[in-house]
């Protein structure tokens, strides 16, 4: 990939005015889909994503039933209007891959062994896409699972780091993702400090990889604060959130 000279200006600011280690504006809200057992809405930059969870419930088709644990299924899907040019609504190979990656990223956190012979379906719908939609979708999906009351070892948070003009930066937006030279999305269980998602797309040397990884972890921990606040707000009301955030 070629890089535009202007991705980071001489003051160290990025095209949207952020510093290299700054997240985009972030907003998470739990419980918006009335029909679902759990749901969450996230805005992260221009990403607008809805996640919903149905389950634990009977498995259809039955032959997929697992006798010792829940079957966790995940579907990442983009609305036709979510991208700059219209997206064909049929799922692409990219959507199939991300669906798998998100399932693998949620599995370590969900206590699937507590729900044998059931299915837990996680839907992540990208209403508007920006860079990092899989990370934001992962963050939302984990809130939706918690909102559904499903037992979890830990939440899962997603955040990416990447490389622009040879600098390692946090949380790439769409333009940065396209023009930059690497993107490293990770998924983290923030309390357990374990990684459940990692992908890399781009070129990083040893040292850059190390720095990008550490920065993405830092980003995850920041996102985690907002994620917790959303759940506290849903279950304990606004007052507690303020207290929480102050602490």
């Amino acid at each position: 990939m070629h890089e535009m000279a202007t991705l980071i200006d001489d003051k160290g600011l990025r095209i949207d005015g952020r510093k290299v280690d700054e997240l985009r504006p972030l907003k998470i809200e739990a419980g918006l889909i009335k029909n679902a057992d759990g749901s969450a809405y996230i805005e992260m930059g221009k990403n607008k994503i809805m996640a919903a969870v149905y389950g634990p419930k009977e498995v259809h088709p039955k032959h997929l039933t697992l006798s010792e644990r829940a079957l966790l299924r995940c579907r990442y899907h983009m609305s036709a209007f979510s991208t700059d040019t219209r997206k064909n609504p049929a799922p692409s190979r990219r959507e199939h891959e991300i669906s798998k990656v998100l399932r693998d990223a949620l599995l370590p956190a969900v206590l699937v062994e507590d729900y044998p012979r059931t299915a837990i379906d996680v839907y992540v719908e990208i209403l508007q896409s920006d860079g990092g939609s899989r990370c934001a979708g992962l963050t939302a999906a984990s809130v939706a699972l918690a909102d559904a009351g499903i037992g979890m070892r830990d939440l899962v948070v997603g955040c990416a780091a990447g490389k622009l003009n040879d600098q390692v930066v946090l949380d790439l937006n769409d333009t940065e993702d396209k023009e930059g030279s690497a993107d490293l999305p990770i998924g983290l269980m923030p309390t357990l400090k374990e990684v459940t998602l990692l992908q890399l797309d781009g070129m990083l040397n040893t040292e850059e990889f190390q720095r990008a990884f550490d920065l993405a972890v830092e980003g995850c921990l920041k996102v985690y604060q907002v994620q917790r606040a959303a759940l506290i707000k849903k279950y304990f009301g606004a007052e507690e959130v303020r207290q929480e955030v102050k602490q």
Binding site: K34, A36, A80, T85, L127
Partner: protein, 271 residues
Amino acid sequence: MVVTKKSLLVQQLRRTQLIDFLSKGKRLDGRKLLERRPLSIELSPIEKASGSARVKLGNTEVIAGVKVELGTPFPDTPDKGILIVNTEVLPLSTPFAEPGPPSEESIEVARVVDRGIRESEMVDMSKLGLVKGKKVQAIFADVTVLNHDGNLLDAVSYAVTSALASAKIRRYKVTGEEITATEEFVPLEVQTLPASVTIARIEDVLIVDPDMEEEAMMDARITFTTDDRGNICAGQKGSAKPLSFDQIKLAASIAREQGDAIRDLIRGVIA
């Protein structure tokens, strides 16, 4: 087709209760017979779309997004643009949907809403032609269903009408057969605001805007879409039981009347 998980006995008891309520002019959620659920419209939630609207009709919630692309005209209308309405009932939105190709319900909803837009001549398609027989503007109005609590058809209708009425589309300069995209965006001109109203019959009672539970128990359903001048421009009967002549005529007049109220609401939002 919607199937509830409840046992047969519970369903029958609930139906008895519903009929009792209806006979007293009330509904289970407290509405009057001809009362719609609260309708709220948020314009432009999707900045990347040319126009968009998020509609809540009670707990039914949908987002419509409009994208405009260059396309080839249909052979029988070489100088007219193209408009396609598409609806996806996501498994996100209801315990009853399955991933896969569009369901029968998705297709019906999209086609009826499409007819309302098209037949009302809301958008003057001849203004979307660029090079006769070769290039036109193609408008895609895609709808994502977020929460399906009944009467999807009306919610999708309001969302698509609002998204189109508030859309801004790119201007093209045409010289001969050469098309140049400008950076100027102009409002999509609309000639009328079509609005659909769905009426359900349960026993002998007509109710407006059935919710999911009422849909599961309704005998018949009829939808009429009207335009600014009170013309009916689309109609669709559904569900497993018939309607009498009088019920149809009554439904048409209810649709005309409530269509005006809905248009006023939409007009207020897009103003």
